[in-house]
């Protein structure tokens, strides 16, 4: 238990350190850092309607981040959440286009299935390559992100192109209004319900099933798990597929929820933020839920900053990046300090 508290404390210290570092940099760049931090907190949580906006960003991020956590736990460095998210959204958009006209009660579940299958498929091939031929999954999933990005450009400017659309960004035809699960603000009981179900199911999977326990063990010591008779490649492939399926689910939610269509290059930071959330939360499901709200708040503040503090939205990207830079640090010195602090209490 104390180790877990220490791990959380360490993460919080690095997040706080990154925020202070950013504040110093912004101060030097000629912005008022204190005003900026106030604006971030205000825009994320305090302003009227801010909590709803933060949740709107937090819920899809949470779903993807839980999936990322599952593959990281099993020892696979799947950094392809962005691509799996895109392919999920693309598959769902195709399904929505094919099913146009069918009653929502039939169509919506099928669209969800298509999105989940799309995300899972985009995680399946790096998983197969990794487990069958030992191909490094960091590279394959990274390349998968670019391929999915190009596929998104192609699909939204080609097969699914909105003929009425104009402007620089290609976008697909809007989804049938009957299929939407939220308005463009992006928060509805359906989405909250899906997130809660995913959270509970994944918590049970990780903590209360032999799969979860074995997969976590496999991440630490694959040889031991193999000697105990577990099928390592089944565990690994399932972890890849589950993480991809969840990213695909998040993509479907973004399609049927707030966005209503796919646009080339939409939500480009989704996967990266989800990886950050999983790492800050130390890969625990409950932690992921809490950390998602923090990063959802940052994402929502990004839209608010330019208006309030005269700061470019890039400021939030910089905060996220600074957290990424430090979050995996395992400084011995800091651990010693934390242990000393724990003893003094």
């Amino acid at each position: 238990m104390r180790d877990r508290v220490l791990a959380i404390l360490r993460c919080l210290i690095f997040v706080a350190f990154s925020l202070v570092l950013c504040a110093v940099v912004f101060q030097f760049a000629g912005y008022n850092a204190a005003q900026m931090l106030v604006a971030v907190v205000d825009g994320a949580f305090l302003r009227p309607g801010a909590m709803e906006q933060s949740l709107r960003w937090a819920l899809p991020l949470f779903i993807t981040a839980v999936g990322v956590g599952i593959s990281f736990r099993a020892g696979y460095f799947n950094i392809g959440a962005q691509g799996q998210f895109y392919v999920g959204a693309i598959a769902a958009a195709f399904a929505a286009e094919l099913l146009r006209g069918t009653p929502a009660l039939i169509a919506v579940p099928l669209i969800f299935l298509a999105g989940i299958a799309g995300g899972a498929l985009w995680a399946l091939w790096p998983g197969l390559l990794k487990l069958r031929s030992g191909t490094d999954e960091v590279i394959t999933t990274l390349m998968g992100n670019f391929l999915a990005g190009l596929l998104l450009v192609y699909v939204s400017a080609g097969p699914l192109k909105d003929p009425a659309g104009s402007g620089q960004q290609a976008s697909s035809r809007p989804v049938d209004a009957a299929y939407r699960i939220s308005d463009s603000l992006g928060l509805s009981p359906t989405i909250i319900g899906i997130a809660v179900v995913v959270g509970i199911a994944m918590w049970l999977l990780v903590n209360r099933t032999s799969f979860g326990v074995l997969a976590s063990l496999a991440g630490r010591n694959g040889t031991m798990v193999r000697w105990q008779g577990a099928k390592l490649w089944q565990l690994g492939l399932s972890s890849f597929v589950i993480s991809g399926a969840l990213a695909g689910l998040a993509g479907t939610i973004e399609l049927l929820g707030p966005n209503g269509r796919i646009t080339s290059g939409f939500l480009p930071a989704h996967g990266f933020t989800a990886i950050l959330i999983a790492l800050v939360a130390n890969l625990s499901v409950v932690g992921t839920a809490a950390v998602s709200i923090f990063f959802g708040g940052l994402a929502s503040a990004a839209l608010y900053l330019p208006i309030m503090a005269g700061l470019p939205a890039a400021a939030i990207d910089i905060i996220n990046a600074a957290i990424a830079l430090f979050i995996t640090a395992r400084s011995n010195l800091l651990d010693k300090l934390l242990r000393l602090g724990g003893r003094a209490q």
């Binding site: 940099v25 912004f26 760049a29 000629g30 912005y31 020892g75 460095f77 950094i79 390559l129 031929s133 030992g134 191909t135 490094d136 960091v138 590279i139 394959t140 990274l142 390349m143 670019f146 391929l147 190009l150 596929l151 450009v153 192609y154 400017a157 080609g158 990266f272 990886i275 790492l279 470019p312 890039a314 400021a315 990207d317 910089i318 996220n320 990046a321 600074a322 957290i323 990424a324 830079l325 430090f326 979050i327 995996t328 640090a329 395992r330 400084s331 011995n332």
Partner: protein, 296 residues
């Protein structure tokens, strides 16, 4: 024919410099996913430096110093704080993209592109059609050759490879792997600064937000595809540039009939195939699991 060669040289040269930076980091055992961020810092600093000092040499010095500083930050985080190189590198990339956007906005008060009065010096009319190319294009073959000498034919290169592949063995014969990685990342910083400068000032003369548009990651893919050999990786970078140029050419000739996004996907598919093949053959793979340094 000349114009397509010029187009390929123009788009390929920035990629080659950044790829070489990735190669030297890879030899030292560091998976450098911060290349994208370093490149955009180099591009932004060159253009702003030219505007500030009216001197190309001063601008490239400023860009190099900034990129070295950013590389040293990455080294500090992964070596001293023992952070995961891949996540830290992605963080550095985010810092570069966001930081340059913020810098432009805080100096000029808008997100518009920033145009410099002049760019990288050109070769001049003595070279005929090729006179429009910058001096960095002409220097590129020599830099590639120098990197090959440094990495494959020098004592330093051997020590660097030892630090990357067998840090413990390296330490056993009195090499300090941490210091070797610092040197490698610093040299990579200079190369990224040149790559960024060539991108922003080689044929264009402006800096736009996010103008690297994934070239740093493409360079990383070229490092892997080229098995972290300086010449192999250079060829891989040119393969990417040729695929890109052909994609644009195909679109100009056939309009929308050939989906050029799919042609652009070729380099990435080729990289996946290359990594799969090298995994099959049991070659390469110089980093530990999760891209961690091998002595941690």
């Amino acid at each position: 024919m000349n114009d397509i060669v010029i187009a390929i040289l123009r788009s390929g040269t920035p990629l080659v410099y950044v790829t070489l930076a990735g190669v030297i980091a890879q030899r030292a055992g560091v998976w450098n996913l911060g290349l994208e961020g370093l490149m955009i810092i180099g591009a932004c600093a060159t253009i702003l430096g030219i505007m500030l000092t009216q001197s190309f040499v001063a601008a490239i010095l400023i860009a190099s110093l900034l990129c070295i500083a950013a590389s040293v930050l990455l080294w500090f985080v992964i070596e001293k704080l023992k952070a995961n190189p891949i996540i830290a590198g992605l963080g550095l990339t985010g810092l570069g993209i966001g930081g340059t956007a913020l810098a432009v906005e805080s100096i000029f008060g808008s997100q518009a592109t920033v145009t410099a009065p002049f760019g990288v010096p050109r070769l001049g009319p003595a070279f005929g059609d090729y006179g429009v190319l910058s001096i960095f294009v002409a220097a590129m073959p020599f830099v590639v050759f120098a990197m090959w000498l440094l990495l494959r034919r020098s004592r330093f290169g051997l020590q660097l490879a030892a630090s990357g592949e067998h840090p413990f063995a390296a330490r056993g014969v009195g090499i300090e792997p941490a210091r070797m990685r610092l040197v490698a990342l610093a040299i990579g910083g200079v190369l990224c600064a040149i790559g960024g400068a060539e991108l922003a000032g080689g044929s264009l003369q402006f800096f736009a937000q996010g103008m690297t548009a994934g070239r740093g990651f493409m360079a990383f893919a070229a490092v892997i595809f080229g098995a972290s050999h300086p010449i192999g990786a250079t060829l891989a970078a040119f393969f990417f540039a040729i695929a890109g140029a052909l994609g644009i050419r195909a679109q100009l000739m056939f309009g929308d009939k050939v989906p050029h996004d799919l042609l652009q996907a070729l380099p990435y598919l080729a990289t996946i195939f290359g990594v799969w093949l090298s995994g099959k053959l049991g070659a390469a793979n110089t980093a530990g699991a999760f891209g961690e340094l091998k002595d941690q």
